[in-house]
Symmetry: C3
Subunit: 370 residues, 3 copies
Amino acid sequence: MSDQEKPRPALPADALSLPAEYYLDEARHATELERLFLGRWFYAGREAEIPDRGDYTLREIGDESLILTRGDDGRIRAFFNVCRHRGTRLCEEPAGTFAGAIRCPYHAWAYDLAGRLLGAPGMDRSPHFRAEDYPLVEARADDWDGHVFLNFAADPPPLAEQLGDLVARFRPWRMAELKLAHRIVYDVAANWKLIVQNYSECLHCPGVHPALQRLSHFLSGENAPPTDSYLGGAMDLRDGIETLSVDGRLVGEVVPGLQGEDLRRVHYYAVLPNLLLSLHPDYLMTHRLRPRGLGRTEIVCEWHFRPESTEAPGFDPRAAVDFWDLTNRQDWHVCEQMQLGLRSRAYRPGPYSPREDLLHAFDKLVRGAE
Amino acid sequence: MSDQEKPRPALPADALSLPAEYYLDEARHATELERLFLGRWFYAGREAEIPDRGDYTLREIGDESLILTRGDDGRIRAFFNVCRHRGTRLCEEPAGTFAGAIRCPYHAWAYDLAGRLLGAPGMDRSPHFRAEDYPLVEARADDWDGHVFLNFAADPPPLAEQLGDLVARFRPWRMAELKLAHRIVYDVAANWKLIVQNYSECLHCPGVHPALQRLSHFLSGENAPPTDSYLGGAMDLRDGIETLSVDGRLVGEVVPGLQGEDLRRVHYYAVLPNLLLSLHPDYLMTHRLRPRGLGRTEIVCEWHFRPESTEAPGFDPRAAVDFWDLTNRQDWHVCEQMQLGLRSRAYRPGPYSPREDLLHAFDKLVRGAE
Amino acid sequence: MSDQEKPRPALPADALSLPAEYYLDEARHATELERLFLGRWFYAGREAEIPDRGDYTLREIGDESLILTRGDDGRIRAFFNVCRHRGTRLCEEPAGTFAGAIRCPYHAWAYDLAGRLLGAPGMDRSPHFRAEDYPLVEARADDWDGHVFLNFAADPPPLAEQLGDLVARFRPWRMAELKLAHRIVYDVAANWKLIVQNYSECLHCPGVHPALQRLSHFLSGENAPPTDSYLGGAMDLRDGIETLSVDGRLVGEVVPGLQGEDLRRVHYYAVLPNLLLSLHPDYLMTHRLRPRGLGRTEIVCEWHFRPESTEAPGFDPRAAVDFWDLTNRQDWHVCEQMQLGLRSRAYRPGPYSPREDLLHAFDKLVRGAE
């Protein structure tokens, strides 16, 4: 046993990977999208993308396009990108600023930033028509420390309830203060669950990620008890390593106030369903997952640093970006090979090792959502 | 109210756009294609495309390819492009002239221009075989003033019956005499009904077509009572405007004999299911719609002028073509945005204004075809 | 009647081509793949592709990827390309040599060349886990004179039983000794059965293959009685023609010991389901068919010659390759035109001539597999 190993108990004999239909069946995928994504709070990006009133950004999920915009009251709202007249998409540009109203390009129906219908050309002589019956349809939006989440349910519990103890646990990282330094968008030919599972174990690290293994020993990982809302844990940095970067040196300023072992570890949390949160002493990396179909996932990866760093002349996040871009690509590749293999009649659920305990917990959650 | 406005009565409270499944459901699309297209007379192009005996042109509709050809008797016939031997497509080139027979490229079965089997190599010693049992399968063809229509029904009523008063109404334009001056083929990511609906109202014109609005005021439109065969009306040209062209000047010779307000208006008729007929004082524009799937339509747009114009040295149709090409692209764009929006769970049928009265009539026809 | 004609008896009146659904229905295609391909011995390539221990090549069929590899005992085995841990594809490179073990790229599970699990990182402390429960899943492999066949059935009869009298019939060609001289891979937009049917009659030859017709008269063909395992026959070379090549001259050394009329004919056998075997006096051509979907087939065409030829300085197979490449392309083209035609409502089964007798036999086999 490595002296860095933190051993884990064996799993029960029925701790097996999911049956193939969880990755191959269209109808099951549609149900899963409703129950595990849209019917709960899912991650939609950072508040800082729309800092000012009237700013907006579009988000796609399933067949839906949503307009995230900041109202005159400073609140962020999410509207389905659909005119109440005949259903035309209201916005096309992926981001921008509304000049006062949200106006349909087809017949010029206009809405204010709270979604109220302001004008509907041609309807003035229709006796049955009342503008207040035709506001934009809204999805719930809520935020956590700079992160925006959405929920399609009619009357969902607050986001904080879903997040549970995560809110307190990560308060020391002061995530709302961090600034975007870089973004890479990946298009991966694998089911979204394979990405979550890949993120939730490091048993594959020695073979798949030799560079990571040099900075952080895979057996040093220790997990928090999994919940329905997150799967996560931490791994220690090796002696002399300051953060995950090409050379193991710090890339940005350390988060002020961070102390103790948090300066010597990286925390990895899959905030279900679709935010992978990686907290380093000097930066936050987020992966936002968007299923583009049964076997295809868009992954938006962002690197966020302290403002003292991003505003410093000559700041260069490349040592963190390059390290993780390599690691990401290694991961997506094995996920794609697994997606291909699952199509075979020879696949049958195989045994999880104790190092794959979080996957066993995740799979139970997935099965429960049927 | 604009002094050009011709007001219209309000529609009933249930005058709402169609439910989304009319644009999203594959099975419904297949039914619609049978009932609204193939089981009635649909537009297939101009007689002038195959002026001489043996000339042919191919037409695609749904999964079908049809050979339109002119026989030795001068008649136009439409044959399914399928050999009676083993089903091979007989013709590949989109247009041409048959040298006597229609010959299958596979085993050389040969048919005359009336579809009779002339020769079937290898069948001479088959006692059960009779050549007269294997003519080409024919679709009905009929014509109206230079326009060819097809019908897949076994024994349909004559085309003139379907067209009703259109035949008399547009006789003054002498359409059969007009010559093709230009053709543009568009591939549009929208259901064919969205194109018909878009053509049938000008409520969107001020916002979508500022150039058109400068030539012809959208409130000047006046519709004929809609029938099961067509939806249409006319819009006035503004003072000093002679036709729809880039500069509002005539592009070709005015149709001889045309008089009165027909010299001051443009007539727009959706001849159902798939011919959009736009009659200007000096030219005819036709749009031929072909559904390529639930959410995709091919649109063949042609500009036809008097022979005195097309044969005149230096004749240039560009001022009409460019004006309408711009207008077309503006229309296809909003139709595509509407097709995208209809996929959303937030879409629900919205209210038609009095200016969308023809759409309400069209939708009733569509619903009736279920 | 040509003096070369070998006449054939008429077929019964119900000898008609197959109904369209055999070429257009996805569910039927899936069943056919199971019953006519995977549940019998199907052709997978030549033994010579993996001459040494540890050599492997991948083969795709339907959704399956298979690893063909030669074991330490010299035997060829076929493993489904699927790790028993979580289902990842084990190999990606289409061919290569294993360095001792077959190792999964994800978590490094390792198997020996007989498929036994050698190591499973992380499983050592799982009390329920026994490595012998997780060998690679194997498909049956067998060989015939240098040709490798696979079978997905659990306990199939030997390959020789399926081949019947073919084994003895083609022994004089000493096929195992022949060497690959050239390979062309075609991607054809037609159902695999259309390729088999096309290969099984030469009624189309005069029109489609004028060059072939100059070397070998289509009416000279004589068929062996068809069986459930093969359809085939021979055609005579014309006087003065030595083989099928651009100029009719021999391209390689004649197979030693070949005698009599085998020096004056070409044998064509469709070894069902997917090997087309064309035996010339001086070379063997093989077509390996792989359905890529209902209406798409990959065809790997290979030319095999005597080692005395392939090893001779300056040997050039081009005259055989070019002749057949032209002929192949002519065939694929009419097959694609037939696939298109079959989609039409105007298609109905048409009459086979006596020259299409093998197709009638093949179709009966296909119908019987429903």
